[in-house]
């Protein structure tokens, strides 16, 4: 690799050819502020339109200032990152951006987590020139079940557009209009619900301002908790415990399972359960379905649809309902753990507690925004009453805890309630890419071969590469497995299957980077992919520390089948735990 030598603020730096000034400066320990630039290195996600012009620097011999995020270093380059000219330019440009941004920080849901706000604090903006009579660009507002769009607050960083198109290949958003009125929006500024949006929420996860925010369900939860007639129970998704601590200043990757349970109890939830329990249940159903299809296939049945696709991720479900309408019979019919939990809670558990369905409120805490949409799907309601009433995100939970004045860090560790709080390591790893399929393999292998696994950890299924493939030996039968996270990678995999390029038996897909740990409901990563990496490691630590690590060994699952469901894929299970898919062809 050719090396380039340059000086930045009088520091000599040597970098590889092709390195940008921004990265070279970082290497030299110089921090250049950025706004539109986003680089999640572990995940191959980059947004670099060079549009905000905040990261400009002075390069000797160049007429105008250079955007450091997208200017490559050249041999002998002399760069100055904080001359008066640079500082004046940055400040003036930031003032301009603020002059077209509503001054509503006090009530903005992104306040305190907003990159724009941070930057104006850092740069000491205290007044905005020319704001008198200045026109502010305003747009149609939209509130979908999963997220709110208030593009008056958009600064045209284009991160959401990049994510929606280049990373997720959903194509719900595009830059529209021109000049001062340009903004990112769905076609015709229509509602997201009328667009091919999957509600994966990754646009929200990268938005540097309050333009894209999660739909806020906290008030509804508070109202339910305050209602003495209601029994309110909560389930927490696997990925939440690996990230919630960040909201309270803890190191990324800190596991806060026990504190979270304690906090939820303090908040007044009648029972604190674990979605991991439902994940184990999912494995029983999905694993059985996989084995069924596999057995038929191996027996030569030509009608059987393979590969089986996981169906836990609601954004992924939306994605294939929009884009792969010809393959609707391929994914597993198993409902997601959130919905299995809801269905069991409002039948089995409600009976057990002798609570009427309508008096039982099921709340879920999810790393995800699509879950908000999922629990509103009609097929998951009984006479209009949803199996899961409200889904709040990790960040919303953090807000509830803060609003209730709970000193989270000082909370003791507490355990989940039973029966739906017991889970296995297999349930935990549902939170990362590769986890669902690994959990399924752990169970399917043992059920299929009748043998005990020698080694529970399937390292070959783990990792953060966008598409991974592995072959697992099922006692002489090679089972081909494909894994993709982020919908763009899923598309590649699916297209490969459609064209016959790939030959898989089972495929796991998660819509978000790294899986649920990188979900849009999680604490914001602000462009630091190390955070996602840390959560990833935490999930596997939690798994390794669990006494039981295979779903079919979860005693409460065994009990659930004995007492209520009968056996996996039974008629009752089918009714409560399985679903079907709809064609939602939209461009």
């Amino acid at each position: 690799m050719e090396k380039i030598n340059l000086t930045i603020d009088n520091i000599n730096v040597e970098v590889d050819k092709g390195t940008t000034i921004y990265k070279a400066a970082k290497k030299a320990g110089i921090d250049i502020p950025v706004l539109c630039y986003l680089n999640l290195e572990h995940l191959n996600i980059e947004n670099r339109p060079g549009g905000c012009r905040i990261c400009v620097v002075e390069v000797e011999g160049r007429k105008n200032l250079a955007p450091s995020c997208s200017t490559e270093c050249t041999q002998g380059m002399v760069v100055k990152t904080h001359t008066l000219r640079v500082l004046n330019a940055r400040k003036t440009v930031l003032e301009l951006i603020l002059s077209d941004h509503p001054a509503a920080c006090l009530t903005c849901s992104s306040s305190g987590q907003c990159d724009l706000q941070d930057l104006s604090q850092k740069m000491g903006i205290r007044e905005i020139h020319a704001v008198e009579n200045a026109k502010v660009s305003t747009y149609r507002k939209d509130a979908s079940p999963a997220l709110n769009r208030d593009m008056d607050k958009c600064i045209m960083c284009r991160r959401c557009e990049t994510i929606c198109n280049d990373v997720q290949t959903v194509g719900a958003l595009s830059g529209i209009n021109r000049g001062f009125m340009s903004v990112v929006a769905p076609a015709f500024e229509q509602d997201l619900e009328d667009s091919p949006c999957t509600f994966c929420g990754q646009c929200v996860a990268v938005c540097p301002t309050g333009a894209l925010t999660p739909f806020d369900d906290t008030n509804r939860v508070i109202r339910a908790l305050a209602d003495p007639k209601k029994t309110v129970i909560v389930q927490t998704a696997p990925a939440v415990r690996a990230a919630l601590g960040e909201e309270f200043g803890m190191e990324p990757g800190t596991l806060v399972t026990g504190k979270m349970v304690a906090a939820l109890r303090t908040l007044g939830f009648d029972k604190v359960f674990d979605t991991d329990f439902a994940a184990d249940l999912t494995i029983m159903e999905e694993g059985t379905e996989l084995l069924g299809r596999l057995t038929k296939f191996l027996a030569g049945d030509k009608d059987v649809k393979l590969p089986i696709l996981t169906s836990c991720c609601p954004a992924w479900v939306n994605f294939f309902e929009h884009n792969y309408t010809d393959m609707l019979d391929v994914p597993s019919t198993a409902r997601s753990p959130q919905q299995m939990f809801g269905a069991i809670a409002k039948t089995y558990f409600a009976d057990m507690m002798k609570v009427k369905r309508e008096d039982l409120v099921v709340v879920s805490v999810m790393p995800c925004l699509a879950k908000k949409y999922e629990c509103e799907r009609d097929e998951f309601k009984v006479d209009g009453n949803p199996d899961v009433d409200y889904s709040i995100s990790t960040r919303e939970l953090a807000r509830l805890i803060k609003a209730a004045n709970i000193n989270f860090k000082a909370l003791p560790d507490e355990d989940y309630d039973n029966p739906m709080g017991e889970s296995t390591g297999a349930g935990v790893i549902f939170g990362v890419t590769g986890g669902v399929i690994e959990a399924a393999v752990r169970t399917a292998y043992e059920l299929h071969t009748g043998k005990k696994l020698q080694k529970i950890d399937f390292e070959e299924l783990r990792g953060l590469e966008g598409i991974r493939m592995a072959t697992i030996d099922f006692d002489g039968i090679p089972i081909n497995i494909g894994i993709a996270h982020q919908l763009g990678n899923a598309r590649k995999l699916l297209d490969g299957i459609r064209s016959g390029m790939y030959n898989f038996h089972a495929i796991e897909i998660m819509a978000c980077p790294g899986g649920c740990i990188g979900g849009a409901g999680q604490p914001l990563h602000h462009g630091d992919s190390n955070i996602i990496r840390a959560r990833f490691d935490a999930i596997y630590r939690e798994d390794a520390g669990k006494p039981i690590r295979k779903s079919h060994e979860n005693p409460y699952i065994v009990k659930l089948y004995e007492e209520f469901l009968g056996h996996p894929m039974s008629e009752k299970a089918h009714h409560l735990l399985h679903t079907h898919y709809f064609e939602k062809h939209k461009i």
């Binding site: 194509g171 719900a172 830059g175 021109r178 076609a187 015709f188 461009i587």
Partner: protein, 160 residues
Amino acid sequence: MSTTFKIQESHIKTIHDICDSFNNDPGELINVLHKCQGEFGYLPEDVQREIASKMKISVAKVYGVVSFYSFFTMTPKGRHAISVCMGTACYVRGAEKVVDEFKSQLSIKVGGVTEDGKFSLDCLRCVGACGLAPVVLIGEKVYGRVEPHQVKDILAEYND
């Protein structure tokens, strides 16, 4: 923004033929939009949806392109489309006053259509007839050296 345009089978065929003639190549989107606008007079939502679906581009992207370029329009023009050149040469020779006169005569804004759908009023960039500044185009017809007091007579030419 939504219009009364209802897409019909024959329209779909026209759109598909146009897309096919450009091999459904997304790189030809702008040429396709030109042809479709030539066909329908404007680019209503349904036409954009059909183009997007045929060419396998997201409709958001199609709309992104349509809303970027000033040549494309989503509102139908009047039967007589009035365009006043606002190039520099016309501007310095008083095009603004001519526009104002059209606006007050027709009681519409720039970009608007009269209620009876007879006239629409737009400004455009240089048509290159700077020698005739200020220039007004009505349909294909060019009026040169237009003065505000002539506007009334010009409009009268279009009495049906």
